[in-house]
Symmetry: C2
Subunit: 221 residues, 2 copies
Amino acid sequence: MTVIGRKRGGADVPQGKRRLIEAGLRLAARGRALSSLGLRELGREAALNPNTFYRHFDDIDQLGVAAIEEVTAKLRMGLQQVRRGALTHADATRGSAEYFLEFVRRNPEAFLVGAREIHSGSPAIRSALRRVMDEIAAEITDDLRARGFAPTTDRALLLEVGTAIVDLMFHRSPEYLEHPSRRRAIVDRWVRLARILLIGVANAGDTADRDSPPKRRNSLE
Amino acid sequence: MTVIGRKRGGADVPQGKRRLIEAGLRLAARGRALSSLGLRELGREAALNPNTFYRHFDDIDQLGVAAIEEVTAKLRMGLQQVRRGALTHADATRGSAEYFLEFVRRNPEAFLVGAREIHSGSPAIRSALRRVMDEIAAEITDDLRARGFAPTTDRALLLEVGTAIVDLMFHRSPEYLEHPSRRRAIVDRWVRLARILLIGVANAGDTADRDSPPKRRNSLE
DNA sequence: TGTACATCAGTGAACGCGCGTTCACTGATGTAC
DNA sequence: TGTACATCAGTGAACGCGCGTTCACTGATGTAC
């Protein structure tokens, strides 16, 4: 009641702004860079007057940042949901891969854009994306720890491995989305690599800072 | 002498075409997608008449493909050169990382564009990039083999690990280029991850197709 | 409860500019005989 | 060796179109008193 500058009872983001953001994601998912979208093009896609854009943004980069923040918020929420159900019964490696993929499948559009903008976008866009990726990596790491995996290994090292797993999956996810027939093989490969990384870190944790070549440790060969 | 359609005694690529390609790389390295470059803009950057473009290309995508093929050819050549010198004396892991980085440092422009276009570009661009990356991975794999690393491990699995290493380095290379002060730390991280992958594959090669969780194998913990 | 005012999302017309593209041209190099 | 012709990279002027941006407007919602 005494809140100032907050109109329309709680609907924080105006409809037109939402539609422009969604239009941006839709267009960018077709293969275009977010920053290369025209603002008349956006207006058309959103079925809005071209200059409605200026009510909400100063330029397209600003819309890009807003769009990515939508995406990452969505991802973070989706992850929380899926995680509770999927992770209770399954081995950690395959479980991690699959909850990630469930999200990818459910948000192909957002994901194609995200995977693309991680290297292209403005600093703001990139840091928003890195933030979620690091968050997922941290979740994987904590999950492993909670399951008693490699208890003597340095947590920082485990986190690096988690980050590597996320990076590998993230960068290959467009391939996953674009070739449904190869999905099985791609997932198998992810699982294999994740397992190798985990075996590696469990066996190498205590020598990771030394300079001896890895072949010295092939005791099982 | 009897070659038809081959004029000007061997100078295959006309000067203007070269200048346009180089202008494209230069502009794209500043952060723009190759496909978003204007062709008048290219003409300006190349100090050429705008429509000289049409002498050599039908559209900007075609220039993009030509540019990427230049880059990858350069990379392939650079790799061969650097490799001979660098790989004869050094442990395989660090050596591999460093010859890669030497190339990155010497061709920052081409590399920033490459890392960006791997997810954005046209199918032709992407497959050209994947080709070099797979080639590098194969070189790493063969190198490991030649050094007698993990002789009983399936070559295909070793190749997957090599590919993962290349992917990780490739995707993080813009970060490497953009933050000179963090270079040491980034390289150290690459080396650590590569070593973990190699230890992992050496220890896990024979169980990679089974479903047992990795923690069962922590015999060294 | 009513009235007057403020705020703000969205509209429609209009601007000037740079863009992609086409055209007919020039001049240099290579080829035929 | 000379002459006539073909090829092709690069030029300069011109076109019409769509773009980003500005402006003054409308109409709905919220606020003051």
